[in-house]
Symmetry: C2
Subunit: 204 residues, 2 copies
């Protein structure tokens, strides 16, 4: 039996650059994990193919999948459903393939509920590491502006606490390297590899 694959979840605040990091990861021919194909109720655009770009389904089919507990996570944007089918992910993990999801925070928290064994990576905006400067600004900001910034920063940090790792997206190449390093390191955890050795001994 193959060692179970890892579920890798990349998330973070809107506009942090999750899509850019994901694209860079999958442009790299050395990337060994697979991107999970989403299911959606929106119409295919020119050139988009079912089962490659998305699983295109009707609203009725999607709602049935939700009812049947067959969505790992889902959300509704601008009148359409988007989500991750559970069966696909389960099948790949069972085959020993690492599955990569790049999703919004709301979706990531749904995944964490159902698959807490996943690796949850929070992509941090570069300016969160310059939080102090941003909050103070150049001394010209009103108290209202500073308070608004603090509120946003607090909310972002609170979200971060639910994740395993935090990666700053300052240089995309560095962020990609760190995400891949996390996955490699997770595979070196003793709890993951010891069974392989134990199984070898069992056979005698």
């Amino acid at each position: 039996m193959a060692e179970r694959g890892l579920l890798i979840v990349l998330s973070g605040p809107s506009g942090v650059g999750k899509g850019t990091v994901r694209e860079a990861i999958f442009k790299d021919p050395e990337t060994r994990f697979e991107y999970s194909i989403s299911m959606t109720t929106r119409k295919p655009r020119e050139g988009e193919q079912d089962g490659i770009d998305y699983y295109f389904r009707s609203r009725e089919q999607f709602e049935q999948a939700i009812k049947d507990g067959k969505m790992l996570e889902y959300a509704e944007y601008v009148g359409n459903y988007y989500g991750t089918p559970l069966d696909y992910v389960e099948q790949k993990l069972a085959e020993g393939i690492d599955i990569f999801l790049e999703i919004e925070i709301q979706g990531a928290m749904q995944v964490k509920e159902r698959m807490p064994e996943g690796i949850f990576i929070f992509l941090t905006p570069p300016d969160l590491s310059e939080l102090k400067n941003r909050l103070i600004g150049r001394g010209t900001e009103s108290l209202e502006v500073i308070n608004e910034r603090m509120k946003t920063a607090r909310a972002e940090i609170e979200m971060m606490a639910s994740y395993d790792y935090a990666v700053v997206n300052d240089v995309v190449k560095e962020a990609v390297r760190k995400v891949k390093g996390i996955v490699e390191t997770e595979h070196l955890k003793t709890e993951r590899v010891i069974h392989r050795y134990q199984n070898m001994l069992e056979g005698f």
Copy 2:
């Protein structure tokens, strides 16, 4: 206050090549962690300097340090004590410097008792990953030889379970890359970085 450094402990069975991996790590100018200087009661050899190669101490001084609980770990080999002074490690960690220990399994278990927050890396002999082949051999081994091998393999795997990570030492360069990847990834853990952000917010 600086973020606390990590205590990195590289260990594994005798003859696995811990020293070779450690040397390769510290030859790399990009290595950012420091090697912990050991204390010993053996006499300095030609060219060895106190405080650089070792802390050279008398048997009485070493035994007093043990009594005072000032040794993080120690062992006796061929009539001489070897060990890691606790104060040095504590001071460096408090300064935010990662400290690297390359020690025998017995010592690593002492460190784990006193500093369970350390990162414990088990270097695996390459042939442990070819366990089955090694146990079966070429079909010419006696039952006694196979049993002896199984006993050794079992003991090695049991030791592995006390460690956080297992790195196979097949290609030294790869083992070095993996050890450094583990350290980098450990620094990305949310529990380690979130305080930095929270502290920035506290100041307002």
